[in-house]
Amino acid sequence: MTASEAVTAVRSRTRRRMRRIEAPAVLGVMSREATIFGRYWRTTTFSAVVEPTIYLLAFGFGFGALVTSIGGLDYKQYVGTGIVATAVLFSSAFPGMYGTFIKYRFQRTYDAFLAAPVDVDEIVTAEMLWTGLRAGVYGNAPLLVAIAFGLTPRWTALLVPLICFLTGVGFVGFGVAVAATAKSIDNFNYIQSGVLTPLFLIAGTFFPVSSFPPAIRLLAQFNPLFHCVQLVRHAVLGLHPLADLGHLGALLLFAGLMWRLAIWRMRVRLID
């Protein structure tokens, strides 16, 4: 095929009506992320693994000396499974917020994409999938540490990466929506202190949600991290099929809502 024939072939392909979300655009944006990640994977992996591991060791062995079991579970097992959600939160919401803000505001990366045949929907989808994948991997780190310290998982623990991915996708979407809405990076402090910290604490990670007053117990039902913690704990220690379908549905709903919200906010931000 000569060069001009190749160009004609490309044109005939693009002459077709292009869909709103196309795999080549999503994969292309993800390939940019993967190439950048090739440079930073060591530092990113270090913080994503070490931070929840320190939490695990501190709570598991520190607090675990005072509390031996919760709801019939050994406290180290309880925290070892619960802290997975923390790792997912750290490796999804924060990159979603800070990474996105830096890319659109300071690096103008999204402007470059939008000048190519890439739409906002595809940029947001790619960001959510890529960072969700990372969360799906990093979320397992504390579980592996817990296994090293004697936790014996059931085979259904193989579902944990999927649960982490799904939760991560939702929280990246949340982060992207926050980044697209925030006027400055300082505004993230409101979200960190006012939203993420309470979510993190009423997720049943370190202590059961049942120890809270009824109003907060009800609020926990709207906390995606709570559903993530429950699903992970059940996948590792024994499934509760009906309840777990409910948890799965909640995470799917969260991811879907955040996807639409992130696209909407980002479109408002990027398109004049």
Binding site: M18, P24, L114
Partner: protein, 307 residues
């Protein structure tokens, strides 16, 4: 030229804007813009800062959506079919938005993918774009280690990696030193010679004069004049410009005299320039006569001095 570029397939303009209006709150940035760019030419969109050039460029990639009017690029209606149009356009933005952590080759490979260049053709497409931008020897250098001129060339290479039919250049040489500007001008001239349609916004007169087949002068969100640079000069600034130097008070008095006599005048640095000097032979004070320039015509049309 257009027929050669299009293989006679279509006589439709490459870019067409009709009655386009774009408002930002109370500010109307583009105000009833009509503009057609025939295939295969280089059209220079010349105007002062704030004339609406960048907004126009952003509307052509659907990064800004027009409030009124119709826009077509390569026969695709915008914004509905903007993605198809963008697949066949190359965009070189005014502001550098390169990923500084990546190498030239990595950036071009990502964009070849985004522009739907098939996988097995990507290495050749990237090599070609690197060659055009004279960056082959820097292919694996990280962007943050490139000079300003090289980064600009890489921006152009990124917009050409898929061999687009239309290239949009938004102030391609703004802020660059003269030598780098010359390099980029050669690159753009080669594009035009190759039959690619080029729409280039600029506020540098010399750039428009050197590169554009046709110039559209924009002011306050609309095109106020359009034509070949030489025709625009003749029509709006005449053949000769007479420059008078002197102390400010004298120039002020001369301006008052000129207004009474109906001269077309502009301040040109420390001088007062009287346009259409050939019409006033014998009536003008002592000064220097020079050929009228596009800058003279631009100032008459926009009411603004150039940089």
């Amino acid at each position: 030229m257009a027929a050669a570029n299009e293989g006679g397939a279509t006589a439709r303009p490459a870019i067409s804007l009709r009655g386009v209006v774009k408002r930002f709150g109370p500010v109307t940035a583009v105000d009833g813009l009509d503009l057609e760019v025939p295939a295969g030419i280089c059209l220079g969109l010349l105007g002062p800062n704030g004339a609406g050039k960048s907004t126009t460029m952003r509307m052509l990639t659907a990064q800004a959506i027009a409030d009124e009017g119709e826009i077509e690029v390569l026969g695709f209606r915008l914004p509905q079919e903007s993605k198809q149009a963008r697949a066949e356009c190359g965009v070189v933005p005014q502001l550098d938005n390169l990923d500084v952590e990546l190498s030239c080759r990595q950036i071009l490979t990502v964009f070849a993918r985004l522009y739907r260049v098939p996988r097995d053709e990507r290495p050749a497409a990237v090599a070609r774009a690197l060659r055009i931008a004279n960056l082959s020897e820097r292919a694996d250098t990280r962007v943050d280690l490139l000079s300003g001129g090289m980064r600009r060339r890489l921006l152009i290479a990124r917009g050409l990696v898929h061999q687009p039919r239309v290239v949009l250049l938004d102030e391609p040489t703004v802020g660059l030193d003269p030598q780098v500007r010359q390099e980029l001008w050669s690159l753009i001239a080669a594009l035009r010679a190759g039959g690619t349609t080029v729409l280039m916004s600029t506020h540098y007169i010399e750039e428009a004069e050197r590169l554009a087949d046709t110039v559209a002068v924009m002011a306050k969100g609309r095109v106020v004049a359009r034509g070949r640079p030489t025709d625009l000069v003749r029509e709006h600034a005449g053949e000769a410009t007479h420059e008078v130097y002197g102390p400010p008070a004298r120039l002020e008095a001369l301006r008052a005299q000129g207004e009474e006599a109906g001269w077309t005048m502009r301040r040109s640095g420390p001088a007062l320039a009287i346009l259409h000097a050939e019409r006033h032979d014998g009536a003008l004070p002592e000064g220097f006569r020079r050929a009228a320039t596009l800058e003279d015509a631009f100032v008459v049309l926009t009411g603004e001095e150039t940089e």
